[in-house]
Amino acid sequence: MLSVCDIDVFYGDAQALDRVSIDVEEGKIVAIVGANGAGKTSLIRTIAGMQRPARGHITFRGADITGWPSCRVCNAGIGQVAEGRQVFPTLTVRENLEVAALLPRARGKLAHSLARVFAMFPILAERGRQPAGTLSGGEQQMLAIGRCLMGRPDLVMFDEPSLGLAPALVQEVLKTIRELNRDGLTCVLVEQNVAVSLRLADRAYVLENGRITLSGAGAELLADDRVRQAYLGM
């Protein structure tokens, strides 16, 4: 469904990604794990069209989307839940959701999308008229996920969805991702929390200093000695 082929990304002289290739099959959960600064967020930003690769190409459903602006990538069906939640603080919860449904592919389905998101996260319906900045961290993460879904994506990239959340909420968020996936959403999950994401993923890539150093089925990597030593402290 999504295929990233040999991309290089630079910020000035600093190389963030070095010949990175990943494949995401439709209906699967793919995890990208790695330490801070390994290039995970750069990879997401590049796929999303917010950062241009210096070389390589990205295809989505057979179309070459390399260098497309982010609005076009979104409208093709790739959504993202950015790191740190990034809700619009003075807009109400409902406005946060509505603004995401302005995407051409989602425009006509506002009522349906809203009903679906509210069914998934009843707390958002309750807090609909409240400024998003007044929500708790967990509620903001739910809003960020709900907001992304308002754009009717076929594939969603989650960037550190568990960051800064209490353990119980982390489980909640991961459960949500699993449910969304069961409903047919293809997911790319970027996490520092290696153990949980590998358990969840059908396939995983390990990113180190801008390079893919390992890849395989989630369970396979979970059993890999190098992964266990480097990321799980075993």
């Binding site: 609005c71 979104c74 950015a82 990034q86 809700v87 509505e98 603004v99 302005l102 995407l103």
Partner: protein, 333 residues
């Protein structure tokens, strides 16, 4: 429009209708001086609203809006003087010219990622070099200024903005009310939502598929075009234009005070701000005049003090505080 009226709370409707009725009937009772101060209030409410659209809603700081006032005023005045084309038609050219300037600044800034204070510097630079250009432009009389002659036979040609104080009073009122209505409508439009999203967090907005560049360009083009209409008003009201006066950075600053004091990103902020600030400034001029004090900088110092006091007491402006007091809701930041 009807929808806006419908969603306004009953108390809000009464206040708006009452205020409009009073302002419409006021010339029956008030003297020339009061009318002239109110005309000025309307002018600042109007241009403040135009600036508010760009800064308050789309979050793009311009400190060079005097540029659009000046370009608008000069274009309409020149068409009137040189070609005999009245401002009712000239205003379209004025809007187009100012919007073109706005588009150029926006394109440069947004395409090359010049944001925040750096973008503000860019807007100052454009206003300044346009001022210097006009200082040396023979067609417009250079630094010596451009004057619209007083012609007895044209008095009463309201469509050419030739008339007395009352004409400009009602025109100003119409502009200020129209701008508030336009901004209220735009704030609720698709574009308005996108502006506010970009204002709050541009990266997040882009991640949701909002075309931040296009949305910001729309803001600067609409804002500059709107401001140009204020420039046409200014030119035909004062009948003279000097580059050093219209393009001055102090003019750009003066124009943004009302929305800041009144409340950024709200529909009534610029209106309330103009009603608070302009009479204070005019009152000060009257008082210093009465006592024979001639201190040219005193108004600027006074505005500075007022700004400090109001902003430290009400950081989000006077209007959001008032609105909360009356139980009304506006798009406060």
């Amino acid at each position: 429009m009807i929808e806006l009226w419908r969603i306004a709370p009953p108390r809000g409707r009464i206040v708006i209708a009452l205020a409009l009725a009073v302002l419409l009937a006021l010339p029956l009772a008030a003297d020339r001086y009061v009318i002239s101060v109110l005309t000025l209030i309307f002018y600042f409410a109007y241009v403040g609203q135009a600036w508010n659209l760009m800064m308050g809603y789309a979050g793009q700081l311009s400190l060079g809006h005097a540029l659009y006032v000046g370009v608008g005023g000069y274009v309409a005045a020149l068409m009137w003087l040189k070609l005999g084309i009245g401002p009712w038609l000239g205003v379209f050219a004025a809007v187009a010219a100012a919007a073109a300037f706005g588009a150029a600044i926006g394109w440069l800034g947004f395409r090359f990622g010049i944001a925040g204070v750096y973008f503000a510097l860019l807007t100052i630079a454009f206003a300044e070099f346009t001022r210097i250009g006009f200082d040396h432009l023979e067609l417009t009389g250079g630094a010596a200024g451009l004057f619209l002659p007083f012609e007895e036979k044209r008095i009463g040609e309201w469509w050419n903005l030739r008339g007395g104080q009352l004409l400009f009073y009602y025109l100003g009122l119409a502009l200020a009310a129209g701008a508030a209505l336009l901004v209220a409508l735009m704030a609720r439009s698709r574009l308005g939502y996108q502006w506010r999203a970009v204002r709050e967090d541009e990266t997040a907005a882009r991640a949701l598929g909002i075309d931040a560049f296009a949305v910001k360009m729309a803001a600067v083009v609409i804002s500059s075009g709107m401001t140009a209409v204020g420039g046409v008003f200014y030119a035909f009201y004062y009948n003279n234009l000097f580059p050093s006066q219209v393009f001055e950075i102090s003019r750009s600053i003066e124009l943004i005070l009302a929305p800041i004091v009144g409340g950024l990103g709200t529909v009534f902020g610029p209106v309330i701000g103009a009603f608070v600030l302009t009479p204070l400034g005019e009152g000060l001029t009257a008082v210093t005049g009465r006592f024979g004090i001639n201190a040219p900088g005193v108004k600027a110092v006074f505005y500075g003090v007022v700004l400090i006091v109001i902003i430290s007491a009400m950081p989000s402006g006077v209007w959001p505080r008032l609105a909360a007091l009356f139980g009304l809701k506006d798009h406060a930041r």
